[in-house]
C-alpha cells in the first residue's frame, strides 16, 4: 500500500526530497571530513611526539610548554642509541629471525595449501579442518608445555624455539594459500599434467609463479608479526646478545630510564622497518585484512 502512495506522490514532493538528499549528502561529507581529520590528528599525535622527542637534546624535553618542532634538530640520539647500546644487535637478530621464519613458513604453508586446494587424497577435508582448529587454541594454553619441550631439547636461550615451529607452516598461511589456489583456473595444471610434470613441479613451476599476491601478503604479515613478537623472545631468550629488537627496547628502558630522547630514537628505529614494509606492500596487506578479516 505504501508503495502505491509513493508512486502517486506529486512531482513537487519528489523534487523537494531530491534537494533534501543533496543537502544531506553535503552535510554528511563535511561531517566525515571533520571526523576523519580530527581522528587522524589523534592517531598521528603519539607518533609525531615520538619523532619530535627523538630529535631533541637531552634536556630539551623537560621544558614547559613542550617544543613541538625541536630547535635545534639533532641526530645525536640516533647515533648514540645505535653505536653505544645493543640496539643494533637486536635489529640484526630480529631481521634474521623474521626473514628465515617467514620464508620457511611461506614455502611449507603454500605447499600444503596447494595440496589441500588441488590434490585428492583420503581425509583431505578432515586434515584441513584439524589445522583450522589449531587457529582457535588459545596460545596461553600451549605456552607452558612448549617451553618444557624446548627446555628438554636444550634450546633455551637460542633462536630455535622462535624459528623451528614456524618451519612446520602455520594454519593461517595454509588457510590463506588454499583459498587462493582454489580460485586459480583448472587449465593451469591440466596443461602441466599433459606435459608430464609431477606434483612438485606443478606446485613449483606453475602455481608458485602465479601466487605472487598471496606470497606478498604472507610475507608482510609474517615479517611484521615476527618483528613485533615479544612473548616468544621474552620466554626463551636469556642473554642480551640474543635479544630481538623489542626485548632490546625494553632493556634500554630499564638501563636508560627517563632518557626520553634516546628511548624515542630507539623506538623510531624499531618502528621504521615495519612502516617501510607496510607502505611498500600496503596494497596486498589491506586487501588481505579486508578479505580474511583475520589479523596476522
Amino acid at each position: 500500500m505504501e508503495n502505491v502512495s509513493r508512486i502517486e506522490a506529486p512531482p513537487v514532493a519528489q523534487v523537494r526530497q531530491h534537494r533534501f538528499h543533496r543537502r544531506e549528502q553535503i552535510v554528511g561529507r563535511v561531517l566525515a571530513y571533520v571526523i576523519l581529520i580530527l581522528g587522524a590528528f589523534a592517531m598521528l599525535l603519539p607518533l609525531f611526539w615520538m619523532l619530535s622527542t627523538s630529535l631533541k637534546p637531552e634536556r630539551g624535553v623537560f621544558t614547559m610548554p613542550p617544543q613541538w618542532i625541536p630547535d635545534p634538530i639533532i641526530l645525536d640520539n640516533y647515533t648514540e642509541v645505535w653505536q653505544r647500546t645493543d640496539l643494533a644487535r637486536g635489529f640484526f637478530n630480529s631481521t634474521f629471525i623474521a626473514l628465515t621464519t617467514t620464508i620457511g613458513e611461506i614455502l611449507v604453508s603454500t605447499l600444503a595449501g596447494f595440496a589441500f586446494a588441488r590434490m585428492l587424497f583420503p581425509g583431505r577435508k578432515y586434515f584441513f579442518g584439524l589445522l583450522l582448529v589449531t587457529m582457535m587454541i588459545p596460545g596461553v594454553v600451549t605456552m607452558i608445555p612448549a617451553f618444557i619441550l624446548f627446555r628438554l631439547l636444550g634450546w633455551i636461550d637460542t633462536w630455535l624455539p622462535l624459528i623451528v615451529p614456524l618451519l612446520f607452516g602455520t594454519a593461517f598461511a595454509i588457510f590463506l594459500s588454499r583459498q587462493y589456489f582454489s580460485s586459480l583456473p583448472r587449465e593451469l595444471e591440466d596443461a602441466a599434467k599433459v606435459d608430464g610434470c609431477n606434483y612438485w613441479q606443478i606446485y613449483w613451476y606453475i602455481f608458485m609463479p602465479n601466487a605472487k599476491p598471496i606470497i606478498a601478503t604472507l610475507f608482510v604479515l609474517g615479517v611484521i608479526a615476527r618483528w613485533n613478537d615479544f612473548l616468544g623472545p621474552l620466554i626463551y631468550l636469556r642473554s642480551v646478545e640474543n635479544f630481538t629488537i623489542p626485548l632490546m627496547l625494553i632493556r634500554l628502558n630499564s638501563v636508560y630510564a627517563l632518557r626520553w630522547p634516546l628511548l624515542m630514537a630507539g623506538s623510531v628505529i624499531a618502528v621504521v622497518p615495519v612502516i617501510v614494509v607496510f607502505i611498500l606492500l600496503q596494497r596486498y596487506f589491506v586487501e588481505s585484512v579486508a578479505i580474511t578479516g583475520i589479523k596476522g
Binding site: 561529507r29 576523519l36 590434490m119 583431505r124 584439524l130 589449531t134 587454541i137 626485548l247 623506538s267 585484512v289
Partner: protein, 388 residues
C-alpha cells in the same frame, strides 16, 4: 573445484595421494608437536606439581581446588568487648556508638577536615577461613559481604582483565563511526586508511615506550594537553601509578592501537552491503539515521560479531601492554590473568599450577566464544535471511 570424497583406488590415485600426504606432512607433524600435544600435556600437567628441576608429582585436583577456591562471608560490625556497643570509625578515632555525636561533623585538629563516622567492620582476615585472602567486598541491603579466594591474585587479575575489555565497545563504536565517514565520497581515502591502520602494526614494545612518555606525570604530553584545556587537577594525574587511573590509561592506549584494524574490517563490511537495500530505503523516504539503523547496522551485525569474538579472545589474553607499561602495578591494579600465569610458570617455576590456571583461562575463552555464538542467533542477520 568440485571433487568427490571417494578415496582414489587407481594407481594414479594412489600416486596423487602419496604426494598429497607428503605435502601436508610437515604441518600435520607441527600440529601434533606444537598444538595437540601441548594441549593435552598442559591438561595433564594441571594435575601435577612440577618445578622442571624435579620430575612432576601427581597431586590430583589440588591445583584446581586452589584456583577455584572461593568463599563468601559477611563482614559484621565490630563490637566493643566491655560495653557491647557497636564501634564506629570517626576520622582516625575508634568511637563507641553512644559517643558518635561528640565527633560527627566536628573538625579534626590534625587533618583540619570535617569528621564523618562509618561503622567499623571486622577485619577480613578474622572472618575468612584459613588459606583465603580477600578478593572484593560488596554491600547488599545493608550487609557487607566479603568474597574471599584462595588465589586472590588470580581472581583480581580476572577482574582487571574483564575491566580492560571495556576498550572493545569503545573502539568498536569509534571504528564504526570512522568507517562510515570513510565510506563517503571523500578525497584522500587511502591516506586516511593508512594513518588509522598504522598503529595496529607497529611493535608494541616501541609503542609502549612512547605511551610511557606520554603518560609521564610532569612532562608528558597528555597532562600538558589536559592542563592547557583547563583540567588542572586531572592534568596532574600520575596515570600509571594511580590505582584509579591506570586502567583507563591502558584502555585509552589499547583503543588507539587497535582501532584501525576494526575500522578496516567495518569498512569492508559496509562496502559489502547490497546497494539495492539503500535504494529501496531511499524510495521509502528514509533519512540517514533510518538508513543506518534499518539497513547498515543489521547488515553489519556479522562483522560486529566477528570483531567482538576476536577482540574478546585477544582481550582475555592481554599481557604485553600491562607487562611493559606497569608490571601489573600499582599493587595489582593492572595485573592480568596471563601475567599471573606467566609469573607462576616462568618466574616461580610452578609449571603444574600455572598449567591449571592456563586451562581455566582457556576454558573461559572457549565458553565465551560458545556463548557469543549462541547469542548471535538472536541478533546477527546474515544476508539472505531477510531483514525483518
Amino acid at each position: 573445484m568440485a571433487v568427490s570424497s571417494q578415496p582414489p583406488r587407481s594407481r594414479l590415485g594412489r600416486y596423487e595421494a602419496f604426494w598429497g600426504y607428503l605435502f601436508i606432512a610437515a604441518p600435520l607433524l607441527g600440529f601434533i608437536i606444537f598444538a595437540a600435544g601441548p594441549l593435552v600435556a598442559s591438561l595433564v600437567l594441571s594435575f601435577t606439581d612440577y618445578d622442571i628441576l624435579t620430575p612432576p608429582r601427581w597431586v590430583g585436583t589440588q591445583n584446581w581446588q586452589e584456583i577455584l577456591g572461593l568463599t563468601v562471608v559477611t563482614l559484621p560490625q565490630q563490637v566493643d568487648d566491655e560495653s557491647g556497643e557497636f564501634l564506629f570509625r570517626c576520622g582516625r578515632e575508634t568511637v563507641l556508638q553512644s559517643e558518635i555525636a561528640d565527633y560527627e561533623g566536628r573538625v579534626d585538629e590534625r587533618t583540619r577536615q570535617v569528621m564523618t563516622c562509618a561503622p567499623l567492620l571486622v577485619r577480613a582476615t578474622d572472618v575468612l577461613p584459613d588459606g583465603y585472602a580477600p578478593w572484593f567486598d560488596v554491600e547488599l541491603s545493608g550487609t557487607r559481604y566479603l568474597v574471599g579466594a584462595r588465589d586472590a591474585i588470580l581472581w583480581e587479575g580476572l577482574f582487571n582483565t574483564v575491566f580492560l575489555l571495556l576498550a572493545i565497545p569503545i573502539s568498536l563504536a569509534l571504528a564504526l563511526i570512522l568507517a562510515l565517514a570513510l565510506n563517503q565520497q571523500i578525497a584522500g581515502k587511502n591516506l586516511f586508511r593508512v594513518v588509522y591502520y598504522l598503529p595496529t602494526i607497529l611493535p608494541l614494545a616501541a609503542i609502549a615506550l612512547v605511551w610511557l612518555w606520554i603518560y609521564n606525570p610532569d612532562f608528558g604530553l597528555l597532562n600538558y594537553l589536559l592542563r592547557e584545556a583547563g583540567f588542572t587537577s586531572l592534568g596532574r594525574t600520575n596515570w600509571l601509578q594511580d590505582r584509579e587511573a591506570v586502567k583507563p590509561a591502558l584502555i585509552l592506549m589499547g583503543v588507539w592501537s587497535g582501532l584501525g584494524y576494526q575500522m578496516l574490517i567495518y569498512l569492508a563490511g559496509i562496502q559489502g552491503v547490497p546497494r539495492q537495500l539503500y535504494e529501496a530505503a531511499e524510495i521509502d523516504g528514509a533519512g540517514w539515521w533510518a538508513k543506518f539503523w534499518n539497513v547498515t547496522w543489521p547488515a553489519l551485525t556479522p562483522t560486529t560479531f566477528f570483531l567482538l569474538i576476536t577482540s574478546m579472545i585477544a582481550g582475555f589474553q592481554n599481557f604485553l601492554q600491562p607487562y611493559i607499561m606497569t608490571s601489573g602495578g600499582p599493587g595489582n591494579a593492572s595485573r592480568t590473568v596471563v601475567m599471573t600465569i606467566y609469573d607462576n610458570a616462568f618466574r616461580d617455576l610452578q609449571m603444574g599450577y600455572a598449567s591449571a590456571q592456563a586451562w581455566m583461562l582457556g576454558t573461559i575463552i572457549i565458553a565465551i566464544t560458545v556463548v557469543n555464538f549462541l547469542l548471535a542467533r538472536r541478533w546477527v542477520f546474515y544476508e539472505g535471511e531477510g531483514l525483518s
